[in-house]
């Protein structure tokens, strides 16, 4: 075991030991003796006191010197360097396979490092490999021999994923904790990009006894430029209307770059090429207006040329899917006046019908697999749900579906409503029948009501409410409230789905809202918004789990296996485009506490979760202890 100092220059502070030495010598200095006539009264006890005083002075001096030395040593940050490998050792190689490892010669250098790491495995050591991409995945378990390691590592290639340093280290740490060996080492081979390593939470250090060695394989050539973001609408409704696509191009290089920016849609040039000059470290947004060629997914890519050190990020894909009609399911008991208003808003009529909604009548006693049939379920008042229906509705809403519940006169509290957190307080709240009561508060920030806050969006405050059902929906956001605080319209998140409650049926005896011009737009927007909430993500980064259970791999397009005219898009993690290296000093400064740099042999900075600053802290504690002891002794009188 070798001891080294991380900041040996602090040892110069040891010269401060001269201060207590001078003080001690000054105290010991025998000045001219003081002539005094009555020493006969004190002489007998003085020899013992003198010995005691000398001892105390020596102790005080020693404590001062020790405190100073401990302080200096603590600042010098000693650490214990252990021999590189031992027989009883478990080592995990955390191999960075993120997108940035494709840059330049990083992967070749990583190959050399891998070979060196394999070579350093000795008999009796246990080794495992974790690939560090979007997540940390153990690709070689413990227990294999050297050949298994070589075979497995030969197959590993850099991916297009991001870099989850924390997760990989944590997984490696967890795996090592299960190993009963003397030495546990994590060796990381990475290009040390700042975007990934800056996110590491070093406040959660590795377990005691685990050493962390980092092999930096980056090359300092920050001359990358990339398409880091593309913003496109999720869907298009009409083929006639073009939609905007905006791309953000960033130049990570230290010099300006002139780039050709092109857009391709469905494997054809979109006919627009931009020659842009980006300053060093600058970014630029470029917009394209895309017009779909048919009612099929628009698959496009924004590309920059020429290619540079990381060619994978010179293009970015986008996909805009055609918008399918919102499937509205209706659970109702009897024909009611609400039907007129609901069907007016949501139900297509013959040949002139809009294709925005699909109207589906559901059987209240057995609605079937709702998720496959509908996006939004509208429930009328007073429906007696069977146990099967209630269970299906619960499953539906918890898995991302939306239910619109319309309360009315006939509603009685049911077990299902209680399960949803809905409590009906009174039978009916009545406002002024002559003139009605206006809304008191409206949440205009909600997308379904946002339009009505605009100048010609319609005035919701003109609505007259004659009666409503008072209810409470636990954890709900009220969108419209009356003056007495009763909610008229409230939304609650349940699982990944939503439950919307109207406190009144759409009948003229309860409210004149259905007769007003604001009602149908409100219903249209609300249902559309609810349907959109249930749609899953369609933009993924490499390494993300896809809805079909697969893992997003190479950037490009993936066909939705369920809906034929829907596609997903996979892109390289934009953080990987930033190749600025995490330089050792910067990383070391981030690792001040609690992880400590313990050596910088060769090109590889080495860190440890064990020895880091433990000794320094003990030394600082010793400083405090020595100081306290010095205080006690210096002020102590015998007897």
């Amino acid at each position: 075991m070798n001891w080294m100092l991380l900041a040996p220059l602090y040892l110069l502070g040891g010269l401060a030991v001269a201060i207590p030495l001078i003080v001690h010598l000054k105290n010991r200095q025998q000045s001219l003796p003081y002539l005094f006539p009555t020493l006969r009264f004190i002489a007998p006890s003085q020899s013992r006191l003198h010995r005691w005083r000398n001892l105390v002075q020596l102790l005080v001096f020693s404590l001062r010197v020790l405190a100073l030395l401990a302080l200096v040593l603590a600042f010098a940050r000693p650490w214990q360097k252990k021999s590189a490998f031992a027989v009883e050792e478990a080592g995990i190689l955390v191999l960075d396979v993120s997108g940035s490892m494709n840059a330049g010669q990083a992967w070749d250098r990583a190959g050399d490092k891998i070979k060196a790491w394999i070579k350093s495995r000795e008999a009796g050591t246990r080794a495992s490999v974790i690939s560090m991409g979007r997540t940390g995945r153990q690709i070689v378990p413990f227990g294999g021999n050297i050949k298994d390691l070589e075979t497995a590592l030969a197959k590993v290639e850099p991916t297009y994923e991001g870099t989850a340093v924390d997760q990989a280290l944590r997984e490696a740490d967890d795996l090592l904790q299960k190993e009963n060996v003397r030495r546990k080492t994590i060796t990381v081979i990475s290009d040390m990009t700042a975007t990934a390593w800056d996110k590491v939470k070093w406040d959660q250090p590795l377990s005691p006894g685990v050493r962390l060695l980092i092999d930096d394989v980056s090359e300092h050539k920050p001359e990358n430029a990339a398409v880091v973001n593309v913003t496109a609408p999720r869907n298009f409704l009409k083929m006639e209307d073009p939609f905007p696509v905006t791309a953000t191009i960033r130049n990570f290089a230290e010099v300006p770059k002139t780039l050709w920016i092109t857009c391709r849609v469905n494997d054809k040039d979109w006919g627009k090429v931009i020659n842009a000059t980006l300053p060093a470290g600058g970014a630029r947004d470029v917009a394209f207006a895309i017009k779909p060629a048919g009612f099929m997914p628009v698959k496009g890519e924004i590309r920059i040329e020429p290619e540079d050190i990381l060619p994978q990020d010179n293009k970015r894909f986008f996909c805009v899917n055609p918008r399918n009609p919102v499937r509205v399911g209706r659970l109702k008991s009897d024909p009611q006046e609400s039907d007129i208003f609901l069907k007016t808003a949501l139900m297509p009529y013959g040949e002139t019908a809009s294709n925005r909604f699909a109207w589906i009548e559901l059987a209240p006693d057995n609605p079937g697999d709702l998720k496959k049939q509908v996006d939004v379920v509208i429930m009328d008042e007073g429906i007696n749900l069977s146990q099967n229906s209630a269970s299906l509705l619960t499953t539906f809403v918890r898995n991302g579906g939306a239910i619109v519940l319309i309360l009315g006169e006939a509603d009685q509290p049911t077990a299902w409503e209680q399960e949803m957190g809905l409590t009906l307080d009174r039978k009916r709240s009545t406002g002024s029948l002559a003139t009605g009561q206006h809304f008191h508060a409206i949440e205009f920030r909600h997308p379904a009501l946002q339009q009505f806050s605009m100048p010609r969006g319609g005035d919701l405050f003109r609505v007259n409410m004659y009666a409503w059902r008072a209810f409470k929906l636990a954890g709900a956001q009220p969108l419209i409230r009356m003056v007495n605080g009763d909610p008229l319209l409230a939304i609650r998140n349940i699982g990944t789905g939503k439950l919307v409650v109207f406190a009144f049926p759409f009948e003229r005896s309860w409210s004149d809202w259905p007769l007003q011009a604001t009602f149908l737009p409100m219903l249209d927007r609300l249902v559309n918004w609810l349907a959109e909430q249930g749609l899953g993500n369609q933009n993924f980064l490499a390494g993300d789990p896809l809805p079909d259970g697969q893992r997003a791999g190479k950037p490009g397009f993936v066909q939705d296996p369920v809906i034929s005219n829907q596609a997903w898009v996979v892109n390289l993690d934009p953080a990987e485009s930033d190749l600025i290296r995490k330089f050792n000093p910067r990383l070391a400064s981030r690792l001040e506490n609690p992880v400590r740099v313990i050596t910088t042999t060769g090109q590889a900075p080495v860190f440890s979760g064990e020895e880091k600053n433990t000794l320094s802290w003990w030394l600082l504690l010793a400083v405090v202890a020595f100081s306290l002891a010095e205080l006690c002794l210096a002020n102590r009188t015998p007897g």
Partner: protein, 298 residues
Amino acid sequence: MPQSIPWDPHLLARVETLEWRSRVLVNGFLQGLHRSPMRGFSSEFSQYRPYYPGDELKRLDWRAYGRLDRLYVREYEAETNLRCQILVDASGSMGYRSANTPFRKYDYAALLAAALIRLLQTQRDACGLTLMQTGVFEYLPPKLSKAHFTRCLAAFEALAPKGGSDLLATVNHLVNLFPHRGLVAIFSDAWEDPDRISSALERLLFDKHDICFFQIVDPRELDFKFSESRMFRDMETGLRVPVTPEWTRAKYLNAVAKHLDALKQKCLDIGVVYRVLTTTQPPFETFAAFMAERERRL
């Protein structure tokens, strides 16, 4: 170079206004202010005694003869002058003077002794001087002349305080030279063994001397207010002792208090006038106060 004593002419002039009267009968050799054990010719009637042939006829009390038909002689008390011997300690410890004090103990003792000599000379009392020091016995017999006063002052100046002192030895030597009853005034710091001091005083009392014992001390000797630890050296023995005042003060003060109490008790027991004088007290006022108190007790 020996340190000269700061004589105070004003003090010496002012003491002439005071009067010293002996507490005991003294044997003088001249007419004086003090009562004598002898019968003499003062106006103070003493007693009658039967006439013996040879007595002077003029001293017969004829009225008593008329009433009693016996011859009686009238006797009057004799008044004589005082013979005084002043003992001044000139040991090394008497040379101590702490910071911010005006006198060395030796200076203070010399001032008071000179004042007493001056006062007694004014009353035509003979006053001698003995300086105590190890190996030195400077003795000036009691005399009345003015030149004697000057010789006394010169003796003070000539002797620098050093070495030790032994009061008992000095007294044993002195009693041979000063046998008649008189006044013995002792000025010393009295840091000797109280028993030996007591023995010396008892030896003087045996000769029926009137004894005034003045212990001259420096205030620092009483309070031991020192701040820094340093090496101390005894002024008489040369003993070097490292002293940490804050550790030592309590024990020292306790020992000094015990010593002073013992000395005071012994003086009280044998009826010796004992005063502790600190060198910061104004000499004349201290002397006058002592005289006033003494006058009240007579």
